[in-house]
């Protein structure tokens, strides 16, 4: 775009961000402060992810942007357009075709490869902030690996509800050392973080932190031996493709309690339908 550098950010800024990324990769799960810039999209819309993507993007990359698992959500469309406009890179909705995937709140269902990078948009990088609001204090707790507070929180959940009641942004231990927020992905997605072949980068623009999980790193969701981690999923097959192992969106279809459950990962669902899988809704349509 005229008047702007490739992918919007100037090269010095990108270099600064790449240095932060290198440090983050070297210390998996550790939050690295970085000089986050004002972006032309508001804080909370994914400024951290956008800066990370801008810093790793090359002219030959193919970019996929998803929000809530879908390529067609407004914010995903907006960010995809932003990079198409400022970097002129090819964009795609197909998970397999992308070299860089920027995401908000989901990990694609399809297993990612080692030649791909996934960039997470992070609203709150500090996993302990609900328990200790002072960032001076939480920094000290990370330094000492003092995570007793979080274990007590989980224990209290079990004491009160018989189970851990966190359903998204479920805290994980990275490389047996750092407690990390996986960003607000559903706990359903947490197992995908573990030993993923893909480089995982996390950008928090407003909070000015970057962190990373290098490929094949051990990532464990916090739990107890007698209360193992349990991801939550709606007990339905996808209404469109019939998948029983994907994360589902709940769509309200009337105000009398009617609901339709469909894959949140739109590319996954579309590919399954193209391969001939049909859900109950598709069968209804065929019958009409």
């Amino acid at each position: 775009m005229k008047g702007y550098n490739f992918a919007y950010l100037d090269e010095q800024t990108k270099r600064m961000i790449r240095r932060a990324l290198l440090k983050a990769v070297a210390i998996p799960g550790h939050q690295v402060p970085f000089g986050s810039r004002e972006m032309p999209l508001p804080y909370g819309w994914g400024t951290g992810g956008i800066q990370v993507t801008a810093s790793v993007l090359g002219a030959g990359d193919v970019l996929k942007v998803i929000d809530q698992g879908a390529d067609d959500t407004t914010n995903a469309v907006s960010i995809r357009r932003f990079f198409a406009r400022t970097a002129g890179v090819h964009t795609t909705t197909r998970t397999a075709d992308a070299t860089v995937i920027q995401t908000r709140h989901r990990i694609p269902e399809q297993t990612l490869r080692d030649d791909q990078i996934i960039v997470y948009q992070v609203p709150q990088p500090e996993p302990l902030y609900r328990l200790e609001s002072s960032r001076i204090e939480t920094r000290r707790m990370h330094a000492l690996a003092d995570y007793g507070l979080m274990h007590v929180k989980l224990y209290e959940d079990i004491a009160r509800f018989g189970q851990i009641s966190i359903s998204y942004d479920y805290p994980v231990m990275v490389n047996r050392r750092h407690l990390m927020s996986p960003s607000p992905i559903p706990a359903f997605d947490n197992p995908k973080l573990h030993r993923m072949p893909t480089l995982q980068l996390f950008g928090a623009g407003r909070e000015k932190r970057i962190y990373a999980i290098p490929p094949w790193t051990e990532v464990r969701s916090l739990d107890f031996d007698d209360h193992p981690f349990r991801p939550i999923r709606a007990p339905h097959p996808c209404g469109l493709c019939g998948a029983t192992d994907s994360y589902l969106d709940e769509v309200v279809i009337d105000d009398r309690g009617g609901r339709l459950f469909v894959c949140s990962d739109t590319d996954h669902c579309a590919e399954r339908r193209a391969a001939g899988h049909v859900g109950t809704e598709g069968l209804k349509e065929a019958a009409e």
Partner: protein, 397 residues
Amino acid sequence: MAYVTVKGGEQAIDNAHAWLAEERRGDRTVQELTLAQIEQQLGRSVDRAMGEGSLYDRELAALAVKQAQGDLIEAAFLLRAYRTTLPRFAHSLPIETATMQIRRRISAVFKDLPGGQVLGPTYDYTHRLLDFDMAHSDARTSDEAVSTMPRVPDILGHEGLIEPDGNGEAEPGDLTRQPLSFPATRDVRLQALARGDEGFLLALGYSTQRGYGGTHPFAGEIRMGEVAVEIEPPELGFAIDIGDITVTECQMVNQFKGSKTTPPQFTRGYGLVFGFCERKAMAMALVDRAMRAEELGEEVTAPAQNVEFVLYHSDNIEATGFVEHLKLPHYVDFQSELQNVRRLQREVALTAERAEAVCGQDTPPPLAGGSWGQGAVPPSSPLPPTSSREGRGRFSP
């Protein structure tokens, strides 16, 4: 230099006002703004002035914005000062936002829902790049109105997943007629928030998201559009429509772990403001929910949960008055403070002199068979009681 008594205040004020008028008008070779231009093209300013000024009248608000040179708190102040002179004919019935003529309606909790998602005239997905063509641009889009749309909390309510809304039977309180008293009921709190300063509520709402009184919020629904205002004059016995107003409504859906008497369910945070003021409606809903901490049995530790703190400081007309009153003359008080500080300094100096005189001699070692005797306790502890150190991390205004 001879002393000149500061007099002639009247002349000074007249001169200041004349200067202000001149400044307000600016360069006379530039065309003067009309109220219609402000109302039409600075709509968000007009909306904010109406909301914080607590008076729904776009034309008057445009006048206030013009008269205040775009200073929106000053504009709200002008509207408040006008509003207070108006007679009150009737209370309106509660507005029915379910039948709103929708211009914008989004839900962050359902991908799709009856009535659909309507983006409307939003900045949300614009890229903040200055548009240098704007001066000549005349592009305009419009989204047309839609019929009745169920509200998201109502959809959740069918399944009993969200707490029921309070009934609207009781006559709501009115801060403009009855002074604030505590405990403040939710209707009064919501009125205070609706009139409150956008920036203040924004910062408080933001603080709840960063760990200072978190509420686990989801934007269940945000809608903006026109609703009818109805009154029911007692002599008629039925409701009559007196006109439409534009409002923005935000219903936050928040996590609640349940208590001994209540099962786990979602709770509500509510925001409603005049005009298109989405930022404020959202912040209001966050703060409303945060202030319900005590009612819901949550620990009250953060500023946004402290009802008294929030309500006493949310009104920007009160705040700007008291902050800016510091520029009024305070000669008398300051004079007494001057005398006081001088006296205290003299006493400190005297004490230091005396101490020096004593130190000149040998100081007896403490507790070593001195004047208190073996094992005796000093008559008073040198340190004050430590209660002031308690409550670390607690918020106390």
